[in-house]
């Protein structure tokens, strides 16, 4: 009996690779590994690889059609005292912050309105989604006409009404151009915020409001102490997405201004494209794109650690 036991043990230790393989194939604890493998491969191939490649390219002087050599931080040193780059960082932050705040405010207000009972509720809710459904480039072209320096409908109407005497230089003046692209972005982004928050609002149990009303709570108190706390997780998710989408916006700017006038609306994404693809310096374009990563990580960190401190994150339902 004892001899049998030893003779069994020895081969297990000796051919450990074969045994591990055996274990992987049969052990139930490793089943999850097999189920995750396709997804992991997918993520590695389509997310991690391009990301790492992009970061690596930022350290080279690669040009289109020609491999680059490693040049360390030269691209970043150059960007550090490049006024156009810093202008694009400023523009991106301005664009993201202003647009996100307004999108949140308007979106929340719209969601609260849509949550009420009113005639044609379903139809109105569907209509609100319209700006979000229209392809970005189409809406950008519509805005391009609205903002045109000679044929703007807004300028035309105001002139006919006698409010102004000459066309507004929507996309030709730095400040007007910034305001115009931010407005277009808000118009596009509000439905996403509104509809998602509306979904969140519908999960709030009406009995809570009934109880609060019986206790004599005002409508502001009901919002502040019932709606808002219960909506926080949704707000965190929606705003994280909204900030990320706005920060990395490209199509709208490209179709409207191409970063003009005089780079006043160049975002980091558009500058990266202009330098990397249009003028062929992939390394520098990649460096600009990589420079966006810290900002994006910061935005994610703020929303997760700032807005989701609550214990519900750990499975408890109370602070």
């Amino acid at each position: 009996m004892s001899t049998l036991q030893t003779s069994l043990k020895v081969p297990v230790e000796d051919t450990s690779i074969a045994a591990r393989w055996q274990q992987l194939q049969t052990n139930r604890n490793y089943q999850a590994f097999w189920f995750m493998l396709p997804t992991a491969a997918f993520l590695l191939l389509f997310l991690a690889y391009p990301l790492v490649l992009g970061i690596w390219m930022g350290f080279t002087d690669e040009r289109i059609g020609r491999p680059g050599i490693f040049i360390g931080l030269e691209n970043y040193q150059w960007l550090w005292d490049d006024s156009v780059f810093w202008l694009s960082v400023f523009n991106t932050l301005l664009y993201t912050i202003v647009a996100s705040v307004i999108k949140f405010a308007v979106g929340l207000y719209l969601a609260l309105l849509l949550n009420r009972h009113m005639p044609f509720k379903a139809m109105i809710r569907a209509l609100v989604l319209l700006p979000f459904i229209v392809p970005t480039v189409l809406s950008a072209i519509a805005f391009w006409w609205i903002y045109d320096s000679q044929f703007s409908i807004i300028s035309w109407s105001l002139i006919k009404l006698g409010v102004i005497s000459s066309n507004i230089n929507f996309l030709g003046d730095s400040n007007w151009a910034r305001a115009s692209v931010i407005f277009a972005n808000i118009w596009r982004g509000v439905p996403f915020v509104a509809i998602t928050l509306l979904a969140g609002l519908q999960t709030v149990s009406p009995s809570l409001y009934e109880a609060a009303t019986l206790d004599g709570a005002t409508s502001w108190q009901r919002f502040r102490y019932i709606t808002y706390p219960l909506l926080t997780p949704i707000i965190a998710v929606v705003m994280t997405f909204s900030v990320l989408f706005t920060f990395t916006d490209f199509q709208l700017i490209w179709a409207l201004t191409r970063g003009g006038p005089v780079n006043a609306t160049h975002l980091m994404a558009t500058l990266s494209y202009q330098r990397g693809i249009l003028s062929g310096r992939l390394g520098e374009g990649a460096a600009i794109a990589t420079a966006m990563i810290p900002f994006l990580l910061a935005a994610i960190a703020i929303s997760w650690y700032g807005m989701q401190r609550r214990k519900w994150q750990q499975g408890s339902d109370n602070d």
Binding site: V84, S149, Q150, T257, G260, I277, L278, R281
Partner: protein
């Protein structure tokens, strides 16, 4: 490089061929000709060849129709399958760049400016095609070799060129007190001031418009003897000459129609055709559209060469369209055959006629095409390939010059100063810094 001095005989030959082709051939004739051509051509397409060709999206419809007719004849005569896709000016380059970088998707690109020089290693040597055409059709215009050649090899064939010249309303010019269009920069400024006073303003793009902004602003810089780099690629943009050019353009900008800083390539066409803009720098497309849609306006439009400043000689920048063949194509002979076929008189003359002045030639024998003289308003556009400099300015046209023009270094310098974002010194210093980075 072989020198092609146009001898009388080849010019005559080209002229005769042009005359023969004037009455545009019917498609059967074209096919018959194409078959005969394919028999004798020095390039024999590979069996079962399939070519993916990317070209810029047409501005003149008839040109596109003639182009496709030509492609069709080539397909039928040679059995080569040609797939043509179109992209707008601004999207050609990214698409071509991606193809160059990944080594697939396209075999040939018919793009603009200095496209082959952006990735010269990926362009097939087409010296044999260039030599064949040059010998047959009276030699190449002087700008063809910088656009098409790198070192002593041709990496692209400059097929045609579109002019960026002054488009103006004759009545507005006369009302402003000018009998003929001013030929010098001082007179031109006076004209623009007077046009503005009469409420019939001029205007040129200062936005990121690849064609419209780059062409006229490079002219403005060069005609004041300012250049981005010298002939050894040393950056010399920060100079008193550049300052003069900036001052000059600022004075123009102040009397332009409002909004030019946001203009893209189509803005001036729209404003001109709507009767709001009375003088601009553009191709002949405004005139062509007006002829079709607004005959009265077309009668009032004329064209002029860019005025001449302190440089004392023409310093224009026009838009060449160069055909490149990628090194990774599986069918190089078919690609070369197609390029040569396009430029034969029997195809080229009717095609250029269909473009109504939008396309001009690099091969000197084609000067005799009657399209340029039957309507004198088109004549200035005949010579654009002979007059154009390259985006390199004094320096060679290479990767760096191609990068500088794509990154709008010169355009941004002018726009920075004109819109008041930077002062004179600051605008020049920024451009110098950007240029040094590119030309390091």
């Amino acid at each position: 490089m072989t020198k092609f001095t146009p001898d009388r005989r080849s010019v005559l030959k080209g002229g005769a061929a042009a005359a023969a082709a004037i009455a545009a051939m019917s498609s059967e004739q074209l096919l018959g000709y194409a078959k005969a051509w394919a028999q004798n051509a020095q390039w024999k397409p590979e069996a079962g060849a399939k070519i993916n060709l990317l070209r810029w999206k047409r501005f003149v419809e008839a040109e596109d129709v003639a182009f496709m007719k030509m492609i069709d004849a080539f397909q039928k005569a040679t059995g080569v399958q040609v797939t043509v896709s179109n992209e707008s000016y601004d999207d050609i380059q990214p698409k071509a760049s991606v193809a160059a970088n990944t080594g697939q998707g396209l075999d040939m690109v018919w793009g603009l400016y200095s496209l082959p020089h952006l990735f010269p290693e990926k362009c097939r040597d087409v010296t044999d095609v260039a030599n064949y055409l040059g010998k047959k059709y009276g030699g190449w215009a002087p700008s063809a070799s910088p656009y098409g050649m790198r070192g002593d090899k041709w990496i692209g064939i400059p097929v045609a060129c579109t002019g960026a010249l002054l488009n103006y309303r004759i009545s507005s010019m006369e009302k402003a007190g000018f009998k003929e269009f001013p030929k010098d920069t001082a007179g031109f400024l006076e004209l623009c001031k007077a046009l503005n006073k009469n409420g019939t303003p001029a205007g040129m793009a200062l936005g990121h418009a690849s064609g419209d902004a780059n062409t006229w602003l490079h002219w403005a810089l060069w005609t004041h003897n300012g250049y981005l780099v010298d002939k050894n690629n040393k950056v010399i943009i920060n100079s008193p000459e550049t300052a003069k050019a900036l001052e000059y353009v600022k004075q123009l900008y102040d009397v332009f129609i409002p909004g030019t800083a946001s203009w893209n390539d189509s803005s001036n066409n729209k404003a001109f055709l709507a009767g709001q803009l009375h003088c601009t720098v553009n191709g002949i497309s405004i005139y062509v559209t007006a002829q079709k849609e607004n005959k009265a306006m077309a009668d009032d439009i004329n064209h002029a060469y860019m005025p001449i400043g302190p440089a004392g000689k023409p310093t224009e920048l026009h838009l060449p369209f160069t055909m490149l063949i990628f090194t990774f194509t599986k069918y190089p002979e078919a690609c070369k055959a197609l390029t040569a076929f396009m430029l034969e008189a029997e195809q080229f003359n009717p095609w250029v006629a269909a473009a109504q002045g939008y396309l001009s030639h690099f091969l000197l024998a084609y000067d005799t095409n009657p399209i340029w003289t039957e309507d004198p308003k088109r004549t200035p556009f005949r010579d654009v390939a002979k007059r154009t400099l390259t985006p390199g300015g004094l320096g060679p046209l290479g990767e760096n010059a191609a990068a500088a023009i794509s990154d709008f270094v010169v355009v941004d310098m002018f726009a920075n100063y004109c819109t008041g974002r930077e002062d004179l010194k600051g605008a020049m210093a920024s451009a110098e810094r950007a240029a040094k980075r590119i030309y390091r």
